[in-house]
Symmetry: C2
Subunit: 470 residues, 2 copies
């Protein structure tokens, strides 16, 4: 292995092959659940260097773990504990290669931080709509490798839907230049979408061409109290009809989740938390004017009040108020952490099944664990719930997790399967869910995934042990 | 083979295994370029029957050719001339299995005709936005297998973007039930998008779950005279900013193309055809009201007149006028046929490159062939041109095609490659382009395509000779 490390130093420079010192930023995952050990962390500075590094590793038969901002939630981008895997860090490849205003596209290297790209686009008068909690640290390459979701999916889709082309280093170290700025291209299999969401197991994404959108003229936020999850689903239908593509956000939050925010962050005002079992945050992005957006929101909310799916509502008066409302929504995970460890799920369901799912699963959990508390919130417009389970009031959270996590997961996921849902809506599989996936995924689908992995990475050197086992 | 045919009759009923009589509807392609001969045409009535048919053919080592409405333009769905291939016709599997209003999805069998699905959705108060010339005959399965485009791609995307889940019979005859109504699902490789656009070479699509949208409150159409292709690109940028997601159509048409319509269909009024080198048809679908849509259009067109990218414009006063304008656009291919045989291309380019592409390629063609006439029109909003080449005035079209087609294709496609475009934007590869694809596609991409084909269809029984050769 010494020979390989020397070769890697020749390829990218000794300063960019890390073997000593504290490498925990590369070896420990975001939620600190896995503590790996790398043979080396290699940071190529260009696509050519990245390809040379992959060829050298492949020749030595050494497994590689692609890594962007290392903000993933399913232990998909850190090395295992063996000390035999090379981390391929993209963090030096951050260039915006081209912004094509007439084509409304931007071509960017994989290591570019999401927030930098958002700002670059905004400075050119465009919106790059991908937006998620980790945007200050996560990278475009990681966003694409995991098909990231976030808060704007309802209107703009997942990371997949924002990507027109990719540049990829294959497991053999060849470069596929698929950096197309084309909106239509039917010349063969959709390799782009195969790499997107494959979590680095089929190759290394080094750059991407992404869609840009016009900046909206005004973005307004509203907060509505709704009497039930069924009413929230009804409000979603109304909002889609009244606001059309203007509806860019539709977040649902349960009373207990909002109560945790009110309890742990008493300086925040949480509208309607006392009286309403559910609240919904709506966002309306208008290409015309703020006045128009406000009129649209008012018409919608009046109609919803008449139909009884909303009991009360406020529309933010200005950007500061809108930010406060979003801040409440975004503070739920922190408030949960303040309350203590809990069992997290990132599930999706057909929207029509969500009310029944929640009612049944809440009841089953309460029957199993008296007093268990449900922190339920999520992107209702995408059918995506963060259906989290917190220990009973006063119970010991660590014990709860140790004793109950497996059974709770089984119950929650079995219900997901029964309602035609997914056990990973936006976080991916990684190594955390690789061994439970076969319980919830069709064996025919898994067989095809294995055939594809075998065809594209026959020696299983790219991020082994993630997504699918040979 | 007699034994196989007897077995197929047992599986689907003798009436649905066609071997005698006139089978040209299944054996000859839409443009009548290829006259094949099938071993048999089999019409399964259910997914179970389809899987049994595939298993029987696979066991006998017989190649299969999936077929929907047989409206494809690249000879991808008819059997070769050997008489050894079985056509799998989906035309009996037409059921709409479920329309889920709250989830805004519809699940439909592959043989359902596109227009039937559009009507089914409309009757339930929804829009299914896929729309193309062959919609009265083409099927959903074929639309997905070829990733069909059409006139609404600018707003709603290609067929790929409208699909959430698939049911597929694999080349071994297993059924993959991937009929998900989920908008987010990150549990492994994106098999859905791999099958979409694979033109029946990886498996047989038997059903799909598709997205629905709210019906717009009003749809308006405008027709603008623009002084150049560059001005058309500028108008597109303005329209995207002013109309946002309301902009559902943006079709560009050259003066010669429109002149053919005026010449061969003198009863049609073709606005501005005398005076303007290019015209643009714009469509604005509004979720609010017709008055709002009209106001938006007027603001946009005034601004465009001020900026000089539009020299004159009309907005249709009513639906009848709007239909007339679309009818002019849709009559271009017919007018071309009236004028005589011509060399057709379905290319895409980055939108920013289109003005230079047209200027250069027009000049190169005119240098090669004095008096050659260019019928240029297409979906500019998607970067998709139908850049067609017609014989010089008075020249013999058949001779022109025979003598010039190969050289013209090479010139047009070399220019496409030079400008980063695609030689097949929406029609696919089929058998028509399978052997020219390697000249225009990256060998790394082709290598990955072969690996995938080999992994999923190792015996090359599914639509062999299409898209990629082993």
């Amino acid at each position: 292995m010494t020979a390989l490390i020397e070769e890697l130093k020749t390829l990218v420079g000794a300063a960019h092959v890390l073997v000593d010192g504290d490498l925990s930023a590369y070896e420990v995952d975001w939620r600190k659940r896995a503590h790996g050990k790398a043979l080396a962390v290699v940071r190529p500075g260009s696509t050519g260097e990245a390809a040379a590094v992959v060829r050298a590793c492949a020749q030595a038969g050494v497994a590689m773990v692609p890594q962007g901002g290392n903000t993933g939630l399913v232990v998909g981008a850190t090395p295992d504990e063996s000390g035999t895997q090379v981390v391929l860090s993209l963090q030096r490849m951050t260039a915006v290669r081209e912004l094509d205003a007439a084509n409304m596209t931007v071509t960017v290297e994989a290591g570019c931080v999401l927030q930098s790209l958002q700002e670059h686009a905004r400075n050119a008068g465009f919106l790059f709509p991908l937006s998620l909690a980790a945007e200050g640290s996560c990278t475009i390459g990681g966003n694409l490798a995991t098909n990231a979701g976030g808060t704007q999916v309802l209107r703009y889709g997942n990371a997949r839907d924002l990507c027109l082309g990719l540049e990829v280093v294959t497991p053999a170290g060849e470069v596929w230049d698929g950096l197309s700025g084309l909106r239509k291209d039917n010349t063969g299999y959709d390799l782009r979408d195969l790499f997107i969401g494959s979590e680095g197991t089929l190759g290394l994404i080094t750059a991407a061409t992404l869609k840009l959108y016009p900046l909206p003229a005004a973005t307004l936020t509203a907060w509505a109290a709704v009497p039930s999850m069924q009413a929230a689903v009804q409000l979603l239908g109304l909002a889609r009809r009244h606001l059309g593509a203007g509806l860019t956000g539709f977040e649902v939050m349960g009373q207990f989740a909002l109560g945790l925010v009110a309890r742990h962050f008493p300086q925040m005002r949480v509208p309607f938390v006392q009286d309403s079992p559910w609240c919904v945050l709506l966002e309306n992005a208008d290409h015309e004017s703020e006045a128009h957006a406000r009129g649209q929101f008012e018409t919608l909310l009046e109609r919803a009040l008449e139909e009884g799916c909303v009991t009360d509502a406020v529309v933010a008066e200005n950007i500061a108020q809108a930010r406060q409302l979003w801040h409440v929504r975004e503070s739920i995970p922190l408030a949960q952490a303040e309350e203590g460890l809990n069992i997290k799920h990132d599930i999706s369901l057909p929207i029509s099944r969500i009310p029944a799912y929640c009612e049944e699963t809440d009841a089953l959990l309460l029957r199993e664990i008296a007093g268990v508390r449900l922190v339920n919130f999520g992107h209702l417009g995408d059918g995506n719930l963060h259906y989290n389970v917190q220990a009973p009031e006063g119970g010991d959270a660590a014990t709860f997790l140790r004793e109950r996590e497996e059974a709770v997961n089984a119950l929650v996921y079995d219900q997901v399967r029964r309602h035609g849902g997914s056990i990973s809506a936006e976080h991916g599989v990684g190594s955390l869910k690789v061994d439970s996936l076969p319980d919830y995924k069709s064996p025919v689908a898994l067989g095809m995934m294995r055939a594809i992995k075998g065809g594209l990475d026959p020696r299983n050197l790219m991020n082994p042990g993630r997504v699918v086992r040979p």
